[in-house]
């Protein structure tokens, strides 16, 4: 996140930065940097996934019950929205590489829009959980012998989707930064890698959701 951010900032001062000899070296370095950053992100979510796997093993019934409380339609729509946003992001990268300024701006804006749609749907899902007292804490209420395990499920649900949503918000914030730059024509076929590495970040965040959706919404539902 911070990485992409400072990169975007670096883009202000002419394409070739002083520490590099060639643009190609600069592009290679940025891309590698983003991959390393993504590896780091995998470990970050890995901690949550580990907790999920351990607790699912310890509390299978509670996790199935908890999973049944989630709205699979909204979750499914959100999955579709994110996959579509990955497509618009990929198109944005292509537009940057081929120097299509207006298309680039449009696709970035489309990605931002879809990301926002995702967050709005997520907001309604969260609000519904609040209404039904499914948010862990003092107000949590679930009539079942497995209430504690269900509460644990929801603690993880909010931690995992919350961390994912935070990454979406950061991505959206970066897009707000990128869109005017794109409109001004700062990204050219020679200098498209800021868009490319942002694309890597965006796809990564999507992929995390592709794992979260089945684990939280689908597994053990039937």
């Amino acid at each position: 996140m911070m990485h992409a951010d400072t990169h975007a900032a670096a883009a202000h001062h002419g394409p070739l930065q002083h520490q590099f000899d060639t643009l190609e070296q600069q592009r290679d370095a940025s891309t590698l940097g983003m991959w390393v950053f993504v590896a780091q992100e995998i470990m970050f979510f890995g901690g949550l996934f580990t907790a999920y796997v351990v607790y699912r093993f310890l509390h299978p019934e509670g996790f199935i019950l908890g999973s049944r409380q989630l709205d699979v339609v909204l979750g499914g729509v959100n999955t579709a929205v994110l996959i579509l946003s990955s497509f618009t992001m990929a198109m944005a990268v292509w537009s940057a590489q081929t120097g299509r300024r207006k298309l680039l701006t449009g696709f970035l804006a489309g990605t931002l829009l879809l990301g926002t749609v995702f967050l709005v749907i997520k907001y309604f899902e969260y609000a519904e959980k609040f209404q039904h007292h499914l948010v862990p804490g003092a107000s949590f209420h679930f009539a079942s012998p497995f209430a504690h395990s269900v509460e644990l499920f929801f603690a993880l649900y909010f931690a995992m989707t919350g961390m994912h949503a935070l990454h979406m918000v950061i991505g959206a914030g970066l897009l707000l930064w990128y869109i005017p730059q794109a409109w001004k024509g700062r990204f050219t076929p020679e200098y498209s890698h800021p868009v490319e590495i942002f694309g890597l970040y965006w796809h990564f965040v999507d992929i995390v959701w592709i794992f979260l959706f089945p684990l939280l919404y689908l597994l053990g539902r039937n």
Partner: protein, 538 residues
């Protein structure tokens, strides 16, 4: 190849003056100095806490501070020394300064991220200081649940946030180092011509990248539980406090290697420079860094032999931990063999190397004690552990850091430190260190638990020895702060290469110009090729 000159010229220090030229710099060398100032500050703060702890332990009764204050003291001592001194010290100061020079690069790959990492570090540091002012935190640096999540009344959330943010700063530094090492090496500088310090920094960066985020998410889960009531580790809900320990040590054991590996790299540089000989078994030393980095990820469970995890997982973690001893031993034997047929001189950095070897050997061997299941049951969470990790962290990392700082000081400042004072300080550190921490091994086997602010009277003699040693140690640390500062203005001017060492960093002037080299150097030889240098000189 740039030939060193001693004529006054523009360098990174005198190229610009003024606060802004420092606070907005993107020069890795200036950022290294910013880090130097910051880590020194935190070292002093953490050291003062250690001083009060040792003062309290002079007597068996709790007569200096209250139990609550004592608990905060050792917690803050741990958090500050680990997150704000040991982890950044060598990479962010010496690594930041030397890595581009050693690679023949103009700067790190991402200078802005480098500067940002310092600001993020300072933000975390300010948050840490804020926690201190508000009354501190008392969970121990290990943040064990459910004490940290449910029972502690101190500022756990803020302290965890400080650790979380500090982690970000290490991640930024690590991305920079990994990418720089891959993409910014001078022509001809292939992987097996890299100085061993670069290998060590690379291995460290990989560990930082893979381990730090796991700590980050563990701390996030603690913060969520405390602030939003998401009881992920709450035993009342069926949450598992031991799972937190697994996640925590999955980071925090590799964190030990984050702290020690760079020091091992520094020692390789110093041994070569002061024996004027290629490091013995170069490839073995390089790969042992990577082996330690990899094995370091597989041994976290050895912190949990008595935690209630299964006996059989104890077996696995024990045997894997034993294996870490091997690459560490390989390094020690290779350094010793480097001295053989060397041309050994005894400047201060070399004294630190000799001290380091002794302390690291003891620290490493006592690690085998702790990895031994039947023995760990007795010494776990006693002063034996405290002594062991101080031998590694202070005897190892800090000796490496001080040795490296003296070695590269002329390069960083263009001035030589006063040799006599420096030797005296090195001696004080070595003697003071052993007097402080060796008695703690005995105390630990006797059964004195760690984190005790009062203790049975029969442990007093050893505790007094330890406290006495700590005053000598403190003097040994204060001296360099004074004479190094003094030398920045009054020290003798250093040439480009005061030690007659080889390595790209010695081929540019001292202090180096902003972009390090007048022309990009071309490397045609192995690392530490002292024979070749001889031929050239001759």
């Amino acid at each position: 190849m740039t030939v060193a000159t001693m004529t006054p010229r523009t360098n990174y220090l005198n190229v610009a003056f003024g606060v802004k030229s420092w606070l907005l710099t993107r020069d890795h060398k200036r950022i290294a100095l910013l880090y130097l100032g910051a880590v020194t500050l935190f070292f002093v703060v953490g050291g003062i806490f250690a001083g009060v702890i040792r003062l309290e332990l002079l007597t068996p009764e709790g007569d200096v501070v209250t139990p609550d204050i004592y608990n905060r003291l050792f917690t803050m001592h741990g958090i500050i020394m680990i997150f704000f001194f040991l982890i950044p010290a060598i990479p962010a100061v010496l690594g930041n300064f030397m890595l581009p020079l050693m690679l023949g690069a103009k700067d790190l790959a991402f200078p802005r991220i480098n500067l940002a990492s310092w600001y993020v570090y300072m933000l975390a540091g300010c948050l840490g200081v804020w926690v201190l002012i508000r009354g501190g935190v008392d969970t121990g640096w290990t943040f064990y649940v459910p004490f940290s999540t449910i029972y502690s009344n101190t500022h756990v959330t803020l302290a965890a946030l400080a650790g979380f943010i500090a982690g970000f700063s290490s991640i930024m530094t690590a991305v920079n180092f990994i990418v720089t090492t891959h993409r910014m090496r001078a022509p001809g500088l292939d992987w097996f011509r890299l100085p061993l310090f670069v290998w060590a920094l690379y291995a460290t960066s990989v560990v930082i990248m893979l381990a730090t985020p796991v700590l980050a998410i563990s701390l996030v889960m603690i913060m969520l539980e405390r602030s939003l009531g998401l009881g992920i580790f709450d035993p009342a809900l069926g949450g598992d406090p031991v799972l937190f320990q697994h996640l925590f040590w999955f980071y925090s054991h590799p964190a030990v290697y984050i702290m020690i590996l760079p020091a091992l790299g520094v020692i390789s540089e110093l041994v070569a420079a002061f024996a004027r000989k290629r490091v013995f078994g170069y490839a073995f030393v390089a790969f042992s860094s990577m082996a330690i980095a990899v094995l370091g990820f597989l041994v976290w469970g050895h912190h949990m032999f008595v935690s209630g995890q299964s006996l059989y997982s104890g077996l696995v973690f024990s045997v894997l931990t034993m294996l870490v001893a091997i690459p560490s031993a390989i390094k020690v034997f290779n350094w010793t063999a480097t001295l053989y047929q060397g041309s050994v001189s005894y400047e201060t950095p070399m004294l630190y190397v000799l001290g380091f070897l002794g302390l690291f050997v003891i620290g490493g061997l006592t690690g085998v004690f702790l990895a031994t299941l039947g023995l760990d049951v007795h010494v776990h969470d006693t002063y034996f552990v405290v002594a062991h990790f101080h031998y590694i962290m202070v005897g190892g990392t800090l000796m490496g850091y001080l040795g490296g700082l003296h070695y590269w000081w002329p390069k960083m400042t263009g001035r030589l430190y006063p040799e006599l004072w420096a030797k005296l300080a090195a001696l004080l550190v070595f003697v003071g260190f052993n007097l402080t921490f060796f008695p703690q091994f005995v105390l630990g086997y006797l059964g004195m638990p760690r984190r005790y602010h009062v203790y049975p009277p029969e442990f007093q003699v050893l505790n007094v020895l330890s406290s006495a040693g700590s005053t000598i140690l403190a003097a040994g640390y204060l001296l360099p702060m004074v004479y190094l500062l003094w030398s920045m203005r009054y020290g003798r001017k250093a040439g480009a290469n005061p030690w007659g060492a080889v390595g790209l960093e010695w081929e540019t002037s001292s202090p180096p110009p902003t972009f390090n080299f007048d022309q990009t150097p071309v490397v045609t030889h192995e690392a530490y090729d002292y024979r070749r240098k001889e031929k050239r000189v001759a």
